[in-house]
């Protein structure tokens, strides 16, 4: 397609510019977090002063990280359990109300999280989950269900029925056939669903803002709050360091599992 050296050179120049545009803000954050700047904890020479300050900020970085981790783990585990069992039910069993239930699962997509947060403030209190990290994880789970169940259903449906029959003839119950035969064959789909749940939960800000108090904040919430703490004088050093710490785990997992992320799109499960 690109035949002449000139057009080839132009192509590489242009595409390099594009790549740089997308990477530059993050690269800037990394550099700026270790650079000296007035009004930060790193006033002269390069170093990790901002990271030390971040470590001790507020209730301490470990607390915020742990909070984020709890929310993410709850969201991942509950999403995987619901999507796997639900997907299996929709793929393999005939039962009354199945189609209605499936449409109801998909209808979660039509309802924005923003419209449910006001009642959830009241409701979470009623069911004993006020200011609760697992509670936030559960709310985030709900919005992973349409894609998760849809993906797992398709994944299970493509497993040949003979595999399961064979397991049942060997005396496996439905439950052990599910664990021993179905789940292992659906591992790639499980990774995709888990990755989407993790990214949504680790990066969530809005649900935590509505449902958690500041002393129970996950990192994104703490980060936004950090910026507003001292009006007028904002410590940009600690802010950029916070962005780096928050982004790093998500980015590493994202790059390592990029194949599975892309799979979430090709399977047709990501829909508006």
């Amino acid at each position: 397609m690109k035949s002449t050296p000139l057009s080839k050179g132009l192509f590489y120049f242009l595409t390099s510019c594009i790549a740089i545009t997308f990477l530059a803000p993050l690269v800037w954050a990394v550099i700026s977090s270790v650079s000296p700047a007035p009004g930060t904890s790193q006033t002269s020479g390069f170093g990790f002063g901002n990271y030390v300050a971040l470590f001790e900020y507020g209730r301490g970085l470990p607390v915020y990280l742990l909070n984020s981790l709890v929310i993410s783990l709850v969201a991942i585990v509950v999403t995987l359990v619901c999507a796997a069992t639900g997907g299996y039910a929709f793929a393999r069993f005939r039962f009354r109300g199945k189609n209605v239930l499936f449409i109801l699962v998909l209808s979660v997509m039509m309802v924005p999280v923003a419209a449910l947060l006001i009642p959830l403030i009241v409701w979470m209190q009623k069911i004993g989950l006020q200011n609760s990290l697992p509670g936030v994880g559960l709310v985030l789970t709900l919005f992973q269900l349409p894609m998760g169940v849809f993906m797992m259903r398709n994944s299970f449906a493509s497993v040949p029925a003979e595999l399961e029959e064979a397991a049942k003839l060997d005396g496996c119950s439905a439950l052990s056939a599910f664990f021993r035969v179905m789940l292992p064959t659906a591992t790639p789909a499980l990774i995709t669903v888990g990755l989407f749940a993790y990214l949504a939960a680790w990066n969530d800000f809005m649900v935590a803002l509505y449902l958690l108090s500041m002393d129970n904040a996950p990192l994104p919430l703490a980060l936004v709050n950090m910026r507003q703490q001292v009006m007028g004088v904002i410590d940009y050093g600690i802010t950029t360091a916070g962005v780096v710490v928050l982004t790093l785990p998500a980015l590493v997992l994202f790059l390592a599992l990029q194949k599975y992320y892309v799979k979430g799109f090709t399977s047709g499960a990501v829909k508006g």
């Binding site: 997308f22 309802v111 923003a114 419209a115 006001i118 789970t141 709900l142 800000f205």
Partner: protein, 308 residues
């Protein structure tokens, strides 16, 4: 009926009953989550929208359509609806061609393209809130490089903030959102492109169609379902914008970047501290979104068939 067939019928119905029971058992977790965190809040938001329900005072009984009339009488509502629509239009009009262009650029499987694709996808690993915090620093007059560049170009004052003017704040947010979501929509578009069979292109080449003609006559029409889907996602997502404005502008300056979802938050926690009003606006947003989604699906010709 003969005896054996009755027994066979019985065992079959017993078998079906067992299958239904097992099916329901497997569907239980998803049903519980739906009932507890989906249906209950939806019922509650409707009740709350019809009740006097303050942040500190709690439920003080039904009050009819009071909340709705208060919300509809608020001059801020129309402003926020107008701004949300403007923001949605801008974002979608800018994001869609960029996503399509990028997808066409990187769709061929080559090493360099893989690197390029990964670079464009990197922002997708960030949350909108943390991306907004990052851009808040980038836009700052004190440490951010963008202010300096714009000042050197004579486009603005070095010491004033980009986020300080209504237009600056809007474009700064649009830029952030395009940066964050270009890769996501590029990926969706690429999947659509890969679904177009190669022999269609082959036929176009044999007919001697130019590259541009092939694009407008072959690629675009066949990509219609994908474009429809990405547009719906972009429109719906933008209509519900919250994080980016909460972090970057807080709806300011002078409430010029107030989105509808930000207004819900304001009603609940800042200006009115009235959960009833916030619930009423939530219900309106919910209804509007269901209607908008239905219209979009119809208008863009995405039938149920294509949806599955």
């Amino acid at each position: 009926m003969t005896a054996p067939s009755i027994i066979a019928g019985r065992t079959r119905s017993a078998h079906m009953r067992r299958e239904a029971a097992t099916g329901w058992a497997f569907a239980t977790p998803v049903t519980v989550v739906l009932a507890l965190l989906f249906f209950a809040p939806i019922v509650l938001v409707v009740i709350m929208s019809g009740s006097k329900w303050t942040l500190l005072g709690g439920n003080q009984g039904l009050n009819g359509v009071d909340n709705f009339s208060k919300v509809l009488a608020d001059p801020m509502l129309l402003d926020s609806v107008w701004f949300t629509l403007k923001y949605t239009l801008l974002t979608t009009v800018i994001l869609m061609p960029i996503a399509l262009g990028l997808a066409l650029l990187v769709q061929e499987a080559r090493r360099w393209n893989n690197i390029l694709r990964t670079a464009i996808l990197v922002p997708s690993a960030l949350g909108i809130a943390s991306a907004s915090v990052l851009f808040y620093a980038l836009y700052s007059p004190q440490v951010g490089p963008i202010n300096k560049v714009l000042a050197d170009l004579g486009l603005m004052d070095q010491d004033s903030s980009l986020l300080g003017t209504p237009n600056g704040a809007l474009w700064a947010t649009v830029f952030l959102v395009v940066w964050r979501f270009a890769g996501f929509y590029m990926l969706l578009t690429m999947v659509g492109l890969q679904g177009i069979p190669q022999d269609v292109y082959e036929a176009a080449r044999i007919d001697g169609a130019s590259r541009w003609r092939t694009f407008t006559q072959v690629t675009l029409p066949l990509l219609k379902p994908t474009i429809a889907m990405t547009m719906i996602m972009s429109i719906t997502g933008s209509l519900l914008a919250f994080d980016q404005f909460y972090v970057l502008t807080k709806g300011g300056p002078n409430n010029s970047t107030m989105t509808v979802v930000l207004l819900i938050y304001r009603y609940a926690f800042e200006t009115k501290r009235d959960l009833g009003m916030a619930a009423a606006l939530s219900v309106l947003v919910l209804l509007a979104l269901v209607v908008i989604n239905a219209i979009q699906l119809k208008a863009m010709g995405v039938s149920d068939k294509e949806d599955k």
